[in-house]
Amino acid sequence: MDVDPEIAHAAGPAALPRRNGELVFTAPWQGRAFGMAVALQRGGRFAWRDFQERLEREIGGAGPDDDAARYYEHWLAALERLAVDRGLVDGEELGRRAGEYRSGLRDEVF
């Protein structure tokens, strides 16, 4: 699996958080959000620039951020919106499912 430089080395406020050159994930869900977006792109579900544009919109005017958690919240929001817009998942079902995880009704993890 090749690392795609367009993804790995995006620039500006949408740049992946790094420390010492390494990618930073401060919680497992961030890595999952990252991996899901890349997996969908590789599966041809969307072009990376489409995701990138959404991400930049989510980040908005905020400058580059050191905080991986905040960055990946934007990432996840962009991914959710794109996934719903492309019909990959249903928005309401997503909300319901998240509720199940939050309440502990569902606990399957990846």
Binding site: P5, H9, A11, G12, A15, R18, R19
Partner: protein, 204 residues
Amino acid sequence: MNGVHDMGGAHGHGPVVVEPDEPVFHARWEGRVWAMARLCLRRGLFNTDELRWGIERMPPARYLDASYYERWLTSVETLAREKGVAGAGPVRPSGRNPACEAPPRPRFRAGDRVRTRNVHPAGHTRLPWYARARRGVVERVRPPALLPDTNVGPVSRDWEPVYSVRFESRELWGESGRAGDAVLLDVFERYLEPSATEGEEEVR
């Protein structure tokens, strides 16, 4: 060539400026340029020596003013033109570097005293200006590699032994050098000749 890119030992460039936690690419186009160049390399449109040579041929002021990826971009543009990508005629790729079928036998061994030639090729070379006509000792024999000087279009593929050669700081910089410190430079065999052994004063 004795171009501005060959800057080992040059004065006047100032302190090293470090940007803390800098991004790999400072702008989107940089990543595109990097990816494009790597794809061209992978597909054999041009080779790494040609990419470097394209950069080295930039006018000096332009080279110094350009950012790192601007240099790459300039070189890729130059090569695209030269390889016929940007014209109506056929594309003339250099092809990818072949494997080495018959490795040449190294002339020198670790511990041998050598001297770099006093050569000043106008074309591409990887013997820096600061290390010409200098005495050193072979530290290690490396695997053979394609001589960069002749691997730029039209390519003639010359496999040469390569050596890590140790040059004492005083040998390179005279009194400005520091006894005990050294530079280890990777030198192609064609750039070397044996150093006089008897009666030659050793610089420490």
